[in-house]
């Protein structure tokens, strides 16, 4: 045990001193922040869209209400005032139609005129480029908008136009049916309210607090995945380095395989725990300062159904299983390139739970999820979601026992593989070793 501790200590301190640790530490918060801020940055870095609206509906729409283009202009102006200074999408700037577009009397003619502006062949009078041209035509029974943009792959602008135009269409139809503006306004008030209730919710009625456990479970699973990959990755690299430097032989002449393997797993695990503590501590501090209510909700979510306990238990067993596999793979590799080849199948397996995690929030009790959660390579990642869904203690306990047994079995096999790989006289072959093991 003393030797295992010495090896663990060396593993821990040696990686703590490398720039790689600090980079790994920053990757998660950076990735999270970028996922939130990134789209806003992209939207803000774009110039505001410059839109020309050509309304060909004036002959078809009743004169008692505004035209759709006038209504749209009002709503866009309101939106511009409301969003000024915020970090969201840039407000749409309405631009007077150039003469050749304004003179068009059919959608086809307007489209033909718009092409020149959207391809950059022509510019507006102020020299600016046009971002989009919306041609409205039809009547209140079939109002249509042809939206011309230079980038067909983006559909954001159409969403920003359809919302106010749908409201206008509703009001126009009501006006045609003889419903006055006051009544129309009253109709829009007190619309149906669907209230969510669940016996699993604390107060019966579902609130954000009740949805937090499921969200927290998914975040914890992603965290577990990241930490497992980090710890196991560290282990893999050090084993390859020790083989290349022949340190492995010195270690094996000084300690048993189990001492070396457990020391390495312990050291890399301590490293993963350090990262978890720093990330968890940082998040807790940030939340408690920025939003104490959310912080309290998160704490309650982690405590509900013993989520944090089960997470810890599945973290330990999952980490032990994957760390052993990675260490064994490392012992069969001479170079990082060898490792890439052998890691391919493991990475495919590790990707599967990630694919199902996103869908698990909405369907935690889906049969496929319940089944996959019992497949040992996926259990550590998917069982947290089952915890949040209120799985029985028996289900969770049995899964944990299965995981513990699997982890022990994998560690024993990995220990044998590690010894064979680490001391192979020639270039070790993992496939041959597995075939030999199966034959036995």
């Amino acid at each position: 045990m003393r030797r295992a501790f010495l090896i663990a200590r060396r593993e821990y301190l040696s990686f703590l001193r490398t720039p790689g640790f600090w980079i790994s530490l920053l990757v998660m918060p950076l990735a999270g922040s970028t996922a939130i801020i990134g789209p806003q940055w992209v939207a803000r870095s774009e110039p505001p869209p410059r839109l020309v609206v050509l309304d060909l509906t004036h002959r078809a729409v009743s004169g008692s209400i505004n035209s759709p283009s006038a209504y749209l202009a009002t709503k866009l102006a309101e939106s511009q005032r409301a969003t000024s200074g915020s970090s969201g999408d840039k407000p749409i700037l309405l631009v007077s139609p150039p003469a050749d577009i304004a003179m068009a009397t059919t959608p086809e003619a307007a489209g033909a005129a718009a092409r020149a502006y959207l391809t950059g062949a022509k510019t507006l009078a102020d020299g600016q480029k046009l971002t989009a041209v919306a041609v409205m035509f039809g009547d209140t029974a079939h109002l249509k908008v042809d939206l011309w943009t230079p980038a067909p792959e983006t559909g954001l602008l159409s969403g920003r136009l359809s919302e106010p135009l749908n409201i206008w269409l509703r009001e126009a139809r009501l006006a045609e049916a003889g419903v006055g503006p006051d009544l129309a306004l009253r109709l829009d008030q007190n619309l149906v309210e669907v209230r969510n209730f669940s016996p699993k919710a604390a107060s019966g009625r579902v609130a954000l607090r009740d949805r937090l456990p499921a969200i927290a479970a998914v975040i914890l699973s992603v965290l577990l995945w990241t930490l497992t990959m980090t710890g196991a990755g560290v282990l893999l690299n050090t084993v390859i380095e020790e083989k290349a430097n022949r340190v492995m032989e010195v270690l094996l002449s000084s300690a048993s395989v189990s001492e070396i393997l457990s020391g390495k797993i312990l050291g890399a695990g301590a490293l993963a725990m350090t990262m978890l503590s720093i990330w968890g501590g940082g998040t807790a501090y940030f939340l408690s300062k920025a939003s104490p209510d959310v912080a309290q909700g998160v704490v309650a979510a982690l405590m509900s159904h013993g989520l944090i306990f089960w997470f810890a238990a599945f973290f330990v067993t999952g980490y032990l299983m994957y760390a052993s596999i990675f260490a064994a793979i490392g012992s069969f590799c001479e170079t990082p390139r060898d490792a890439q080849t052998l890691l391919g199948p493991v990475m495919v397996v590790l990707t599967i739970p990630l694919i199902f995690l996103g869908a698990s929030i909405g369907h935690p009790d889906a049969a496929i999820l319940r089944t996959l959660a019992w497949v040992p390579p996926f259990t550590p990642f998917l069982m947290s979601v089952r915890v949040a869904a209120g799985a029985s203690v028996w289900e969770l306990g049995a899964a944990l026992v299965m995981m513990a047994l699997t982890a022990v079995g994998v560690m024993i096999l990995a220990g044998r593989a590690f010894r064979s790989g680490a001391l192979a006289a020639e270039k070790p072959d993992l496939k041959r070793w597995v075939v030999r093991l199966l034959r036995r």
């Binding site: 003393r2 030797r3 010495l6 090896i7 060396r10 040696s14 001193r17 490398t18 380095e241 020790e242 430097n245 022949r246 340190v247 032989e249 010195v250 270690l251 094996l252 002449s253 000084s254 300690a255 048993s256 001391l423 006289a425």
Partner: protein, 319 residues
């Protein structure tokens, strides 16, 4: 306490159908320097790994420091693998603490001993420099010192002179001698004969996994007849007639009828006797040179390999 540090009896190691070591028996006496010689692939590293307990023999018995399971005495053994055996980012100070600690030594004590040994080698300035910043010779010495901080009774060195310059080889030889003088048993493998000749009390020669010789360096060399170079106005018959001469060849003829002959003496024959007899017979001799065979010659003689095909070197370079 037994006088034998390492004893192998009929040890074999197979990898599938291939024999790495076949029916190997030898004894390494305590407090001596023991050379384990042979070309690459002869089975040296496999044997050392079995002695260290890293690899289990397919059959046979191994006894190390009185134990049949060397893992039980691993704290009394120091091991230097071929090519460093150090972490590149580790400093010598950390290496002494870590590897000494693995051998059961208090890290502070390991550092003190390692530092003292490093100072003996004139490398104290490297104590806190990472290994990757050291020259190969310096790193090799640091690796050896790391294996010695716990003052092992048995030191096993796998190709310790490999890749070192002559100055570092000499310095490492001195360190090995000091170890033996201090009472440790040193077993080292090499394919460089000169080191074994200078250092070893006893050698085992391996070829293709099989022991071909076991004894002292002198005994190995005695297996090869001494050679003479005789230069003078002589005939082939006159040189052949000298006592102890087994065979003679004329190497070249110089001006004024002077010939250069190479004569092989029979096993146990004396060059001095041949010289005395040559003077007694008043032979016109200009040069009489006795060439003692070395371990390299002995290996070639013992294995039947030709000099050009033998994958071993006589001095300082890898085969």
């Amino acid at each position: 306490m037994t006088e034998i540090a390492v004893r192998l009896q009929h040890v074999e190691k197979r990898f599938g159908e291939n024999y790495a070591v076949r029916d190997l028996s030898f004894e390494a006496p305590r407090g001596k320097i023991f050379g384990f010689l042979g070309p690459n692939g002869a089975g040296k590293t496999s044997t050392l790994r079995m002695v260290l307990g890293l690899v289990v023999p397919s059959s046979g018995r191994i006894e190390v420091l009185g134990a049949t399971d060397s893992r039980k005495v691993r704290d009394r053994i120091g091991f230097l693998p071929e090519e460093r055996g150090l972490y590149r980012r580790m400093t010598p100070a950390d290496a002494f603490r870590f590897f000494g600690g693995l051998k059961g030594l208090d890290p502070a004590k390991a550092l003190a001993r390692g530092t003292a040994l490093l100072e003996d080698q004139g490398l104290l300035h490297a104590l806190h420099r990472p290994v990757k910043a050291l020259s190969k010779g310096m790193a090799q010495k640091v690796a050896l010192i790391s294996a010695l901080t716990h003052q092992p009774e048995l030191v096993i060195l796998d190709e310790p002179f490999s890749g070192l310059d002559p100055a570092n080889q000499q310095s490492l030889e001195r360190l090995v001698r000091e170890l033996a003088n201090g009472g440790a048993t040193v077993i080292f493998s090499t394919h460089v004969m000169a080191h074994a000749e200078r250092l070893c009390d006893k050698v085992v020669l391996l070829a293709k996994g099989t022991k071909v010789f076991d004894g002292t360096v002198a005994e190995a060399c005695a297996q090869v007849p001494q050679a003479l170079v005789v230069e003078g106005v002589l005939s082939l018959e006159q040189v052949s007639a000298l006592p102890g001469v087994a065979s003679v060849t004329l190497q070249s003829t110089l001006e004024e009828g002077v010939g250069v002959f190479e004569a092989r003496l029979g096993v146990g024959a004396s060059a001095n006797l041949a010289l005395r007899e040559a003077f007694a017979r008043n032979l016109d001799i200009r040069r009489f040179e006795s060439r003692s065979p070395g371990l390299h010659d002995a290996f070639i003689k013992i294995t039947g390999a030709t000099s050009s095909s033998a994958p071993m070197t006589t001095e300082g370079q890898a085969a």
